[in-house]
Symmetry: C2
Subunit: 467 residues, 2 copies
């Protein structure tokens, strides 16, 4: 197949109709759950449950066989025992279905009979042209249309719509293992590629490079099916939008674990690291980095350079922030004489970077007005490219005041900055993250991830400049 | 002064009586707040507010001057403008007060007149023998007696009592900047040394080495006043209990920031790194590591070696856990033939390490019984020294079942293990952390910190063996 064919994944993310083959047992049957989730998240396409034992489920007529569904559905979701799967895919292809998401496990990753079944799937794909995500996957979701294939209980029924697309090789990056709603991530699409018998990371990169609703791609990988195609696709995507890559299995032992997870041939760490760098992708090294760094790209413009202003309320955090910044490739901005004069005029200890606003705020009658002015003036400094700004998020009563201050600040500032929240009450801090992001400001509770996000943004600026 | 004198800090942590000099304005006056916090946290010692403008506050008689308090109080807390501080310390010393916590800022850290005032404090200490914590500090707290000097509003009024003692050079490690109650940290004492004009990190190490209620010390440092004494005190402490050190200002720029924060001479990073290692202390590199790694020492015995069992519900997390473990100095345990046979008997895919219990749990009628047996058997393996065990914490309904399972497991297992929680609802996850720690099991939401905690424990075992 041509690249242009392979990257057309609309039948996966924007199906007008879907058949669901699996248990329809009320409540927890996996087919039932998948359909329930679609309805909960607002999918309004046509749904065809398939199961010989039911007539009707969740208001939909049930068909006893995929061959009997009343149209050539765009997609089929298959959650049945492995030996039954190839025949279902075959039938679906015959019925004109374009795409299959195979949730079922115990294929290539277990070897033996499972691997044999997976080879059958590939053969059917080659012969019929039906595209396959999986097997061994929770599938995908798209916040634009509420479409979701996940067949497990999800403790929430909405996600913030946004521009971040996550691709992963594990269901761990998905709604059943991540508190996506509480965190308020601005999600565009998610896709767990599972065993990648057909659709793989390269296809997703080509798809999302062309996807106007995706502004940044965050990808968790255990292996790459074809290095050359991957590199080409990644470079193409990076020329248009940032790509973050978390490569798991970076140690020898980790690579061995990956092999038993998704039968990945994780390969040589140095080769991967070099390829990721050559592609212009930005490597991240933890789940929080993968999930949260994209927010800075979703909400902020790119910085023009790497000169960071650090604005805190506490000297101790300023020192730690400085260490993290330098290690993340950022430079501690030296403010212009005008800014230094303004700062010293505001309070005699201010003038350096980091700026510790603590002392002045504790004695000011208008702390929010002072903060607003100091923040705006500093970020406006021609020697500053980006900023981290601390906010005290620990008290419910402060929420409105802080959010109002940042609402006033946002239109005054054209450079990227992130808000770092700290405080005494976790719930109030998390609520403030969500509220600040509702007004378009990326907010973080972990100072390290906050600064690494700006480091990634500055890095992308320099990568783009070198392309 | 002799070491034995300098390390006797009982008047700071266990004062039978305290004078508080500062604003008594109702609600937010810093003296008022300090007293209110003591009452909230349950301190029952004698309290003497000092302020010429009040007669009575919070039920206590107010004295117009420190010289007038009715006894030689153990401690005085001073929160007044810097120029007034030396005279108050002098008066307190004359009245027989043994210890002063000076919260006021703008001393050594601002140079000039502030530095001159700080020199006066040192001179008074030398002349009178009164001991000083600060200036430029939030002071200290002790959960055993509810004593707390912090003069700012705290959004909670109790802390979990435990065996972790935190020392820091910043108020950031303290109740006004950390959600200590929500996190449920098992705290023994906290002390912010501020500018360290007298009591410094070495004194605290000597004090806490001898403190039977402190099982582990977590120390945030920007500099060390005297390297030789520090090294000696640290080695002495490490021979009795573990010491974690977060050295901020590890980059050149960070060291410069530290200098303007607490007038620290942060010095050469390599020298510090080497000294920390020589002392047998374990270096940590982030606030979450400093705050959360101690939990493993507080709740668990030391591992005999570094062989880790990884027990998850998801293959993807197992791979990531393996990478982190190897990088944290842990070895991926190879199970004995008996364990492998048991695992394979339980389900055909089990047998390796990491163990992915996901597939078997999703098909089992008694998932908690299966988990319990698998976890107990694995950790009991003679080739296993410690373990990380995943738990699904994302649903309120699961809380009781998970906590009950671990309650049954705990007495069956004599080796250290940590629980790593993941899930769909942040609040439920955090609640599960607190509940599991209530039954004495360290629980983590960040898998990296969870595994690094076990790495630190194994490291301490090997440090102790080499001493």
């Amino acid at each position: 197949m041509m690249k242009s064919d392979r990257s057309d994944l609309r039948a996966f993310f924007e199906p007008a109709s879907v058949a669901v083959v699996g248990s329809l047992r009320d409540g927890m049957g996996l087919g039932f759950r998948s359909i329930k989730n679609m309805l909960n998240f607002g999918y309004t396409g046509r749904v065809y449950p398939v199961n010989p034992s039911y007539d009707e489920v969740l208001g939909f007529e049930v068909y006893s066989d995929v061959s009997e569904i009343p149209e050539a559905a765009d997609q089929v979701i298959i959650i049945t025992p492995p030996p039954t799967v190839p025949a279902i895919v075959e039938q679906a292809a015959e019925r004109g279905v374009k795409a299959a998401v195979i949730v079922s496990e115990n294929f290539g990753e277990v070897g033996g009979e499972g691997a044999q079944l997976q080879r059958q799937l590939v053969e059917i794909r080659d012969r019929t042209g039906i595209r396959i995500v999986g097997p061994n996957t929770i599938g995908l979701l798209n916040t634009a249309n509420g479409y979701i294939t996940v067949p497990y209980f999800i403790a929430y029924d909405s996600l913030r719509k946004g521009t971040v697309t996550y691709c992963s090789q594990s269901g761990f990056v998905g709604p059943t293992a991540q508190p996506l709603q509480d965190r308020g991530y601005p999600i565009n699409k998610m896709c767990d590629v599972g065993n990648k018998c057909d659709v793989n990371e390269t296809d997703l990169l080509n798809c999302f490079a062309d996807d106007p609703s995706t502004k940044v791609v965050a990808m968790h990988l255990e292996d790459v099916k074809d290095g050359r195609f991957f590199l080409e696709a990644a470079r193409n995507l990076v020329s248009r939008k940032p790509l973050l890559v978390m490569k798991a299995g970076r140690t020898e032992e980790g690579a061995r674990a990956a092999s038993s997870h998704t039968s990945s041939l994780a390969g040589n760490e140095e080769v991967y690291d070099c390829a990721i760098r050559q592609a212009g992708a930005i490597r991240v090294n933890s789940w929080p980095e993968l999930m949260e760094i994209p927010k800075v790209f979703a909400y902020q413009p790119l910085p023009e350079g790497n000169r960071l202003a650090i604005i805190t309320h506490t000297g101790g955090a300023g020192v730690v922030a400085t260490d993290i910044a330098v290690e993340a490739g950022l430079a501690v901005a030296r403010y212009s004489d005008e800014t230094v004069a303004f700062l010293k005029d505001t309070q005699f200890r201010l003038g350096g970077n980091p700026v510790d606003m603590g002392p002045i705020l504790s004695t000011s009658d208008n702390p929010f007005q002072v903060q607003e002015e100091v923040i705006a003036r500093i970020i406006d400094d021609p020697n500053v490219d980006c900023a981290i700004v601390a906010a005290y998020g620990g008290l419910e009563g402060l929420l409105t005041l802080v959010v109002e201050m940042f609402s006033r600040l946002k239109p005054r500032i054209s450079k990227p900055f992130v808000v770092w929240l700290y405080g005494m009450k976790l719930g109030a801090m998390q609520e403030m993250v969500v509220e600040l992001e509702a007004i378009g400001l990326p907010a973080y509770i972990d100072i390290e991830v906050a600064i690494k996000a700006l480091g990634a943004a500055a890095r992308y600026t320099s990568i783009r400049a070198g392309m």
